[in-house]
Symmetry: C2
Subunit: 342 residues, 2 copies
Amino acid sequence: MNKLKLLAILFSLLSGNALAAEQWQALPKTAPAPVDNPTTPEKVELGKMLYFDPRISSNGTVSCFSCHNVMEGGDDHRPTSIGVHDQAGGRNAPTVWNAAFHSVQFWDGRAATLEEQAKGPPANPIEMGMTDLDAVAQRIQTIPGYKPYFDKAFGKGENINIDTIAKAIASYERTLITPNTAYDRYVRGDKKAMNAQQLRGMQKFADNGCVACHSGANFNGPSMPVGVGFYQKFPTFTDNSYVTRYGLTDDDGRMASTGKVEDKNMWRVPTLRNLTYTAPYMHTGNVNSLDEAVRLMAKTQLNKSLKERDVADIVAFLGSISGEFPQQTMPRLPATPGGMID
Amino acid sequence: MNKLKLLAILFSLLSGNALAAEQWQALPKTAPAPVDNPTTPEKVELGKMLYFDPRISSNGTVSCFSCHNVMEGGDDHRPTSIGVHDQAGGRNAPTVWNAAFHSVQFWDGRAATLEEQAKGPPANPIEMGMTDLDAVAQRIQTIPGYKPYFDKAFGKGENINIDTIAKAIASYERTLITPNTAYDRYVRGDKKAMNAQQLRGMQKFADNGCVACHSGANFNGPSMPVGVGFYQKFPTFTDNSYVTRYGLTDDDGRMASTGKVEDKNMWRVPTLRNLTYTAPYMHTGNVNSLDEAVRLMAKTQLNKSLKERDVADIVAFLGSISGEFPQQTMPRLPATPGGMID
């Protein structure tokens, strides 16, 4: 985002005005990729196989897909995810849809890129439970059918390692985007794409200040360089019943990974796309309805008690930035040598 | 199979002759369906959604797909499957590929049809862990997005219940067939479809008597009426080291479900299709290689010690009845209402 645009947004927020129509942005139809990992069809194909392969986990039961279900909202319907051996994670699984448009990954932004993120869960003892990342590479090396796909994606040679695995998965994830919502079609010029309630909700979303944080094409804040996060304190206003009811301050947020007091209860501003498909909500995963999530955010972040009519309109608007999901073919996974998993 | 054919096979077996070419059968290109559940595109579409939906399990982590992975061999790479709360099953997951051509389901044939089979795992406490089958239907009723698909598949009305759920899943499973292997193409007339070693293996498979049990288009025995199983004792010959090494008699087999002594160590003769993709082997899931599985079966069922060259040829033949898997699109699952799964 250039400075002029930023100033315009700040001005409109400070002056209490709604965003001008030209400030609503559609999602780009392709996701940006790092210079050292350009997206290619071969990497995407391999990455899709790896994404769906539960053999990346210690007992062969958990894949990326298990907690980031791309047949649905890119998450897992649960408050927090279940990893190997019935262990529950501490935070609600973020959606993989449009993660490619985040400048940092995870709730606390502790990974700069999708490649770095992909190296997190496999060796996490409560997620996929592999002893270390080398063990992941060895596991994939043990499945002979993968080799031709790595050769096609990365050139022949000793090419199965955690970096190529992560690059392939990230390449696939960069195709998991939803740039054809009703909202996107509207912003691109199809004025019939959104209905009256969705348009009212869009206006209220702006007027109430939601857009101060949830700005930009992905509704996750201003465009930032890769690795630089856009964080906000959540909850900002703590003198309300939501904070205790949902335990919103029980988790230190970014401080848990940085160790810095100034990061206490700081969180990456997440995308609002596809919320219709990702209940339950918040890092706690204990807010069940989108209505309640909107009320909660208005109170904790803007100190506003919204009228129920406004809540309904904003929820309708959030529906207009959900879907449409691209049709995908199922990957075919190579055969397992027996004895690989006990 | 008519009586004449059966006699011809018995004669060729008794006389030690190989099967005549006309007795090798290709798999039909469509699977038979019961009169009260004809396969329709609408049921297949709905069934695919349900098959992939982990919300059928108590904690939302286990779907049919979890243990019967149609992106691979229709099983789960593991010795025995892991259900909810890290519980391990007692037997190796059978492949779902071509299950439609079995006259009974499960290792011990305790279900007559795919519809009946589909009602097994959901309320099994160590598999999907729902309290009962009504709870499964209630769970699906709670997801509003399913209703239009049930209406399309079963006609409008009160149509979400365990019977329609099972019918839809069974309809999808009837599309999970592999009638285009090298072997099938060979039998249909393409004499170049199988290579020399595969053809040698086919001859040895017949000459050694494997085909006595593993006959027919699905290599699971003679064609039987639905609900009538083709069972064999396994192991038949117990005076060999395989029995103790792999604990082959530890499980009572069909006796465990019928309670009848005559069913002790009796098992449904399983298909041999797609073995290349379904290691590890046997109901125990502890035989790691296909070579070892062939050796073990020859010794325990035919009391023969095969030469290594014969083992290799038979394994090559088994490769010719593996694949080719149909390309499938991923289903789209309807959104979860928050709070449905704790």
